[in-house]
């Protein structure tokens, strides 16, 4: 297996863009990425696209060649990957596999979602399609409801509190306010987060990530060729994708995501590092409780200690282990299909020292965790300075 590097990145702003269509967002991210690596469309050997529900949100299918063609990329494999909110994490995993195996050299990986043209109840219904529509969803489960039930159980088993969850939201908004590409660049107070409108109890609107439009892209190549394209290559040290049951009621213990634990173990082993070596992370905070559980599942803290760790400020920009310096899905936004690759871009900004106001002091080894559904797909990626 050949070592693989990231040689370029590109992101659109995340937000609500009524004048933009899905394709124009994906094209903007892709073209920024190619420009970043000084690569022309004719040099791209494959296009891997993560997208959750373009057909439902905007009525467009056959998305990968549709977008690639608009960038002048034709005559190569162009494929869409769907794995709920881990769609582009999955596209990234498979793209890296193809380069590592020697099948392709220069591969463009992207993610896109255009969500805001639908009403919130309709978006809620489309997102629920990532659950078990013959079981939990038929009974009335939404994604906030599934994570609310996870939160209730975590509170019951470990004493996790509303205040600890709110601390995640406050911290992520503080970080996102420093990110020019974030959807909601607004600082919120603890009191405000605790008194938000209920979405699915105990979760309030401040526990939930945003409904956003946006796209992100990364260009990968064999590490040995990276210097042809960039003076700041980033090495993909470890990447793993794993799975679990789709229905929440089929899991033995819903306070942990087994797929995340397994993916993390594989990625750590591949990278030859441990959880304690990781200097910063972008984790999948689709809901505040998901960030708390991620810090536990990734091995940063012991099971049940994620809440107190967040409330103590350990995951802030100045803390011992900054989490979601980008603002996370909570503040940066969550165009679901773009989130996995967006997280990779956010790690690369830090690794290159290009994160502006949110630049971290220690930034040579970072981890990204992307979650699909209520844990049926997990992708964990570990990146380091090459």
């Amino acid at each position: 297996m050949r070592p693989v590097a990231i040689i370029g990145i590109g992101k659109t702003a995340f937000g609500a863009f009524p004048d933009r269509d899905l394709r124009s967002l994906a094209v903007e991210a892709g073209e920024k990425c190619l420009k970043d690596a000084h690569v022309s469309p004719s040099q791209v050997e494959a296009y891997y696209l993560g997208n959750f529900a373009g057909p439902s949100f905007v009525g467009q299918n056959h998305l990968a060649p549709y977008i690639a063609g608009a960038m002048g990329i034709t005559g190569v494999p162009c494929t869409r990957f769907e794995a709920a909110c881990a769609s582009s994490g999955s596209a990234f995993y498979h793209a890296v596999s193809s380069v590592a195996a020697g099948l392709n050299d220069v591969v463009l990986v992207a993610g896109v979602e255009k969500m805001t043209s639908q009403t919130t109840p309709k978006v809620t219904e489309i997102l629920a399609g990532a659950g078990d529509t013959c079981g939990e969803v038929r009974a009335g489960a939404t994604f906030p409801a599934l994570f609310a039930m996870i939160a209730r159980r975590h509170m019951y088993q470990y004493g996790t509190t509303r205040e600890q969850m709110a601390a995640v939201a406050v911290k992520n908004h503080e970080n996102g306010a420093k990110n020019p590409l974030a959807h909601m660049r607004k600082v919120i107070a603890m009191e405000q987060a605790l008194k938000g409108k209920p979405i699915s109890e105990p979760l309030t609107v401040f526990d939930c990530s945003l409904i956003s439009d946006g796209a992100a892209a990364v260009l990968i190549a064999p590490l040995e060729r990276a210097a042809e394209f960039t003076s700041q290559p980033v090495k993909i040290l470890g990447v793993a994708q794993t799975s679990d049951y789709v229905a929440l009621d089929q899991k033995d213990d819903i306070t942990t995501f087994g797929a995340v634990v397994a993916a993390a173990q594989k990625a750590y082993k591949m990278a030859g590092v441990t959880a304690q070596d990781i200097q910063f992370a972008e984790v999948h905070d689709c809901f505040t409780i998901a960030e708390i559980i991620a810090t536990e599942d990734l091995g940063f803290v012991k099971k049940g200690e994620g809440g107190p760790y967040a409330l103590a400020g350990c995951t802030r920009l100045t803390g011992p282990l900054p989490i979601n310096a980008s603002g996370g899905l909570k503040s940066k936004g969550h165009p679901v299909g773009a989130t996995g690759v967006g997280q990779i871009c956010d790690l690369v900004y830090q690794l290159r020292g290009q994160a502006g106001e949110r630049q971290l002091a220690r930034h040579s080894l970072g981890l990204a965790q992307n979650l699909g559904g209520s844990g049926a797909t997990a992708v964990v990626t570990i990146l380091g300075v090459a």
Partner: protein, 68 residues
């Protein structure tokens, strides 16, 4: 499917399009006495983790339970 215990629950305020008229409604995962778990709606009195519940019946394919 006669009875069970509440494993976890939530009160749904923001419903998907097809259930907007039902909101707010309580949803729970029930640990069934016969084994296994089931996601169901709760009828009547609000329940909490650990509460014993009994099966009421199916309505439009949705299983309903109530506090036992």
């Amino acid at each position: 499917m006669r009875s069970g215990v509440v494993y976890t629950e939530t009160m749904v305020h923001a419903a998907p399009e097809q259930f907007v008229a039902d909101a707010p409604y309580q949803l729970a995962i029930i640990s069934l006495e016969e084994g296994g778990r089931l996601t169901a709606r709760v009828d009547g009195e609000r329940v909490a983790i650990g509460d014993p519940v009994e099966f009421v019946g199916d309505r439009n394919g949705i299983p309903f339970f109530r506090k036992a």
